[in-house]
């Protein structure tokens, strides 16, 4: 479908924009748009629960956190262009670009052996998931398989996720608490 391709293209444009702009508030806003478009793509791929989570958490909370960080630090990214260091900066950029292109090339080479997109015979689609699709209603009694797996089959995993959030919260509190000397 053409709309899927256009959405993916728009994602790439948003990602480049978020990285390119020197004003960090613009970058943050473009990242918010990127997350929302990502949620749309996931809704198109039938991952409805994931799309809603991304729209709320990725586009919402991440943007709020980044704006909070910007309000407590500097808004503009400084251009590294002191004349004496200019040469080393270009070398640094080129070297980064080289690493990125090399990594990308290796990954593209890896996709050649992957099953085609939306292939019904792909190992991921025929190996474990049919068991969940067939038995979920019998065993759990919920029509939404994602919810059933998240809260029942993999309930301990979700508990672990809560522990991760708790640990992150403790970390943030300890890092940002007011110090008394």
């Amino acid at each position: 479908m053409i709309i899927d391709f256009l959405l993916l293209l728009f994602l790439v444009i948003c990602a480049i924009g978020a990285v390119y702009f020197k004003d960090l508030l613009s970058s943050t806003m473009i990242l918010c748009v990127y997350s929302l478009v990502m949620a749309l793509v996931w809704a198109r791929l039938n991952a409805v629960d994931v799309a809603i989570t991304e729209a709320a958490v990725g586009a919402g909370i991440t943007t709020v956190l980044l704006i909070a960080a910007l309000s407590r630090t500097k808004r503009g990214e400084e251009v590294r262009s002191q004349k004496s260091e200019k040469k080393s900066i270009t070398v640094h950029s080129l070297f980064s670009l080289l690493i990125v292109i090399a990594t990308g090339a290796v990954l593209v080479y890896g996709t050649v052996d992957m099953p085609d997109f939306a292939d019904p015979e792909a190992p991921a689609a025929i190996h474990v998931s049919p068991r969940y699709i067939e038995k979920t209603y019998e065993e759990v009694g919920i029509v939404n398989i994602v919810t059933a797996v998240l809260a029942d089959y993999r309930g301990f995993d979700t508990l672990g996720e809560v522990i991760v959030i708790f640990a992150a919260g403790i970390c943030v509190i300890f890092l940002l608490r007011k110090r008394v000397y």
Binding site: L31, Y34, N46, T53, T73, M114, F117, V128, V143
Partner: protein, 131 residues
């Protein structure tokens, strides 16, 4: 060749996204820019997982009762990524808290300036804290 492109171009777009995030992480000196790159990198991986779950002609993995022979998408990657999104936001939150702490200590979030300050001062970083 056409077949290869038609079947795989999705994956290549995800790789492009991931590499944009990677580039921001290793090339940009601004720490907040690095976090933005980290976010792009993460979501590209999530997108890759979600696209694995797509099955030709499948509907969302919500059971339609009383109807036989419905093709559903694979629900398991969805569950993994639901967990991963929330963990990703936790990582972002801790990273941002660290950046704010660095700004309080050094007065800048540019990597090179921080390195210069650390090089030029004989004090240890902890003793630079502005109260």
């Amino acid at each position: 060749m056409i077949e290869l492109i038609a079947g795989k171009y999705n994956y290549w777009i995800y790789i492009t996204l991931m590499m944009i995030g990677f580039y921001a992480m290793i090339e940009k000196g601004n720490l907040i820019k690095k976090i933005i790159g980290l976010n792009i990198f993460q979501t590209a991986i999530f997108l890759f997982y979600i696209s694995i779950s797509k099955v030709e002609g499948g509907t969302a993995p919500i059971l339609i009762l009383g109807k036989e022979a419905v093709v559903y998408d694979n629900p398991l990657p969805h569950v993994l990524i639901l967990t991963a999104i929330v963990v990703g936001v936790s990582v972002t939150a801790v990273a941002i808290a660290l950046v704010i702490r660095i700004y309080e200590s050094f007065g800048t979030v540019e990597e090179e300036e921080i390195l210069n300050i650390m090089k030029n001062s004989s004090l240890k970083p902890e003793e630079n804290i502005k109260t």
